[in-house]
Amino acid sequence: MTSQRIHAVDVTARNLKANAHLSLKDQQLRNNMRSAMDSLISKRLISMPDEDERENLRELGNKVRARALSQLPDLLEQLESKLTQQGVQVHWASSTEEANDIVLKIAQARNAKQVIKGKSMVSEEMAMNEHLTKHGIEALESDMGEYIIQLDNEKPTHIIMPAIHKNAEQVGRLFENRLALPYTDDVDSLIQSARSILREKFFHADIGVSGVNFAVAETGTLILVENEGNGRMSTTVPPVHIAVTGIEKVVANMQDTVPLLSLLTRSALGQGITTYVNMISAPRQLGELDGPEEVHLVLLDNGRSQAFADAELRQTLNCIRCGACMNHCPVYTRIGGQAYGTVYPGPIGKIISPHLLSLENTPDHPSASSLCGACGEVCPVKIPIPALLRRLREENVKSPKQQPQVMDGQGSRYSVTERALWTGWQYFNSKPLLYKAGTFLATRMSSLTPNKLGPWTQNHSAPKPAKRSLHELAKQHLEKKS
C-alpha cells in the first residue's frame, strides 16, 4: 500500500491546506488514525462512567487552572524560590533560541556528548534535538513512540502517542532498515529490541532531558506522568537532569494536582493513573546514592505571555496536554497530526500555535475546523476551544492597523475586498427598503445567478434564490388567512 508520507522537512505550518489534501489520500494513515482515535475515545468514556463525577471534576479542573493563571507571576516566583532553596537551578527563556542556548551551555559546561530525552513537547517546540546535534551532541528520544519517529525522521503526530499513525508492520520495517534487526511485526519483540538499545543509551548518557506535567509552587516539585519508565530513567540515571517546560504549567499546591492528575490520565488514555507519577523536588542529597547531581528547570515563554495578555485567549493556557481534543476531532482524525506542520496539532494546536508561531505563520489553522464543538465538550479543563477558534478567526481578518494589537501576525487574512463585501452585506441587510428591492430582484432573476462561486462550488452546488422570498410567502399566507 502506498503511503504518501509527509516528511518532517517538508512540513511547515503555512502548508496546512496542501498537507491536508495529501493526508486525505493516504488510506493507510486514515485507517491507522481512525482505529486509534476510536479506541482512545471509548477508553476515555469507560474510565469516566459517572457523568456527575466527570462534570464536577472538569469544573474543578477549570477553576484550579484559572486560579493558577490568576496569580501566575507570583506562583512562578514562589516556584523558583522553593526550587532554588532545594538545589534546583531555575532558568528563564523568552524564546526557543534562548532556551536552546541555556540547554547547550549546561551541556557544554559538563562536556556532554550524549543527551537522552524523556518525552517533552516543549523540547519539540524548541527543536532541541536539531540544535544539540548541530553542536555535536547526540540527542536521542527514549519514549517508544518518539524513538520510532526519530528513527524515521518524522515529527510527532499526536502529543501523547507520537507514532500512532504507524502500524506494527511499518515499525517492523523501520527497525529492519534502520537498526538492522530481523523483521517482525510482533509488538512485544519490537518493544524489547528498543528497550535493550535504549538501556545502553541511558547507561552512557551525560544528560537526561524531560518535560514537566505540573510544577507545584508551594513545595517546589516537578511532577512527571508516564507509563514507560523512560521519564524516570532520564531523570535519574544521567548525572544531570534538565527539565524544560512552559511558564503556564505551574499550580499553587499539591492538592491541586489531585483533580488534574485524574483528569489528565483518564482523558488522555482512559487510565485512572499512569504507571509512574514521578515527583522531583531536589537533586541527589547528601547520603543519597543515586539521582542526578544537578537538576535544572528551564521556564519557556515563547508566545505564552501574548496569550496571557488577553483574558479570553488566556484560557488557552489552561491546557494540561491530554490530547482528548485531538482524539475527538473529526478534522484531526482524518488528516493526522503531521499535516498541521506544528508541534501541537489538532484543536489545541490550532489555538496555541498562532501564539507560538504568529498568526502569519499559521494562517489557515483557525479555519481548519468545522466548529462541531467536540473538543470543547471533552476538554478536561473546559477550554472553550470553539469560541477561541472563532476569536482567532476575527483576529485573523482584522485590519493590520486596527487596535488593540492582540497578536503577532494579526490580520494575516485581511483583504480589502472581503472587508468591503461584508460591509456592503451588512448595509444591505440593515436597510429594509434596499433589502426588499434586492430580494425581489434576486427571486425574479434567479436564473441569472452564477453556477461557479469560487472555492464554495468546489464541494457544494451553487445556491439558487427561491422563486419567492420568505417574506413574500409569509405575507401571502397571512393575507389568505384573513
Binding site: 486560579r67 496569580q71 524516570r232 489531585v258 504507571t275
Partner: protein, 221 residues
C-alpha cells in the same frame, strides 16, 4: 532586562487591576467518590494492580519472607537487591540465614557510579518497602531513600514491593495528607510494571522499567 524580568513584568502588566481567584478547591469532589470500607481497600488495590499485570499476594508479617523466597525460587532468581539496614531487609536476611538457600542478597551500598554496570546487567530483582498504598487507583507510594535509592525500583527487571494493609489509603487526596513535609527529593507513585502502547496501541509490558511487579500485602500490619 533579563528574560526572567521581561516575562514577569509582562505577566504582571496583563493582570493589572485584577485580583487572584479565591481557592476553589472542594476536597469532597476528589475524595467522596473514592471512599471504601477497610476490607474493600485491600481487595480493590489487589484487583486494580492485578488488572495491569502486577502480581499481588496477601500475606502476613511473619510469613512474607518464606513467600518471597518461594516466589524467587519458582522464577529461578538467585540474586535479590535488598537494603540490609531496613526492618524488612533484616527480616528477609534472617530468614535466608536460617534456611538453606542459594539466594544471594545484594545491597545498594555504593554510589551508582561505582556499580552501574552491575546494577544494569546483573541484578534480576529488588525488594523495597513502600510508604503507602492507594485503593482508588491501585497504586504504591514509594519514597526512595539512602537505604533504598531511586533506581532500586526501576532498573531490575523484577520489582517486589512490601505493603502494609493498614497503610492503604482510599485515594490520592487522602494519601497526600500523610506525605512527608517537606517533600523528599524524590517521591513516586507506582501502579504496575512499566508498559507502553505506543505501537498500534498494543499493550506491551517491560518498556523501560521493571517487566514485572510483585506486591506483598501484609494483612496484619
Amino acid at each position: 532586562m533579563s528574560a526572567r524580568d521581561k516575562i514577569l513584568a509582562s505577566l504582571r502588566s496583563s493582570l493589572a487591576g485584577t485580583t487572584p481567584i479565591p481557592d476553589p478547591f472542594d476536597a469532597a469532589l476528589v475524595d467522596d467518590p473514592w471512599r471504601y470500607k477497610a476490607t474493600e481497600r485491600v481487595t480493590r488495590l489487589k484487583e486494580l494492580m492485578g488488572a495491569v499485570h502486577s502480581e499481588v499476594h496477601l500475606t502476613t508479617e511473619a510469613d512474607w519472607p518464606k513467600l518471597l523466597h518461594d516466589l524467587l525460587n519458582q522464577r529461578k532468581i538467585n540474586k535479590l537487591l535488598v537494603a540490609p539496614s531496613t526492618h524488612h531487609g533484616q527480616a528477609f536476611s534472617t530468614y535466608c540465614q536460617t534456611h538453606s538457600t542459594d539466594l544471594q542478597l545484594l545491597a545498594y551500598e555504593r554510589p551508582i557510579e561505582e556499580w552501574k554496570r552491575e546494577l544494569f546487567d546483573e541484578v534480576p530483582a529488588s525488594l523495597t518497602g513502600t510508604l503507602a498504598g492507594i485503593a482508588a487507583t491501585g497504586t504504591l507510594v514509594v519514597q526512595p531513600s539512602p537505604a533504598e535509592p531511586r533506581l532500586m525500583s526501576l532498573v531490575p527487571p523484577l520489582h517486589i514491593a512490601l505493603l502494609k494493609a493498614s497503610q492503604i489509603h482510599d485515594n490520592l487526596y487522602q494519601a497526600q495528607q500523610h506525605w512527608p513535609k517537606p517533600m523528599p527529593s524524590n517521591l513516586l507513585l507506582i501502579s504496575g510494571p512499566s508498559k507502553t502502547a505506543d505501537i498500534e496501541q498494543v499493550l506491551a509490558y517491560g518498556a523501560h522499567g521493571p517487566k514485572d511487579l510483585i506486591v506483598l500485602i501484609m494483612e496484619d500490619a
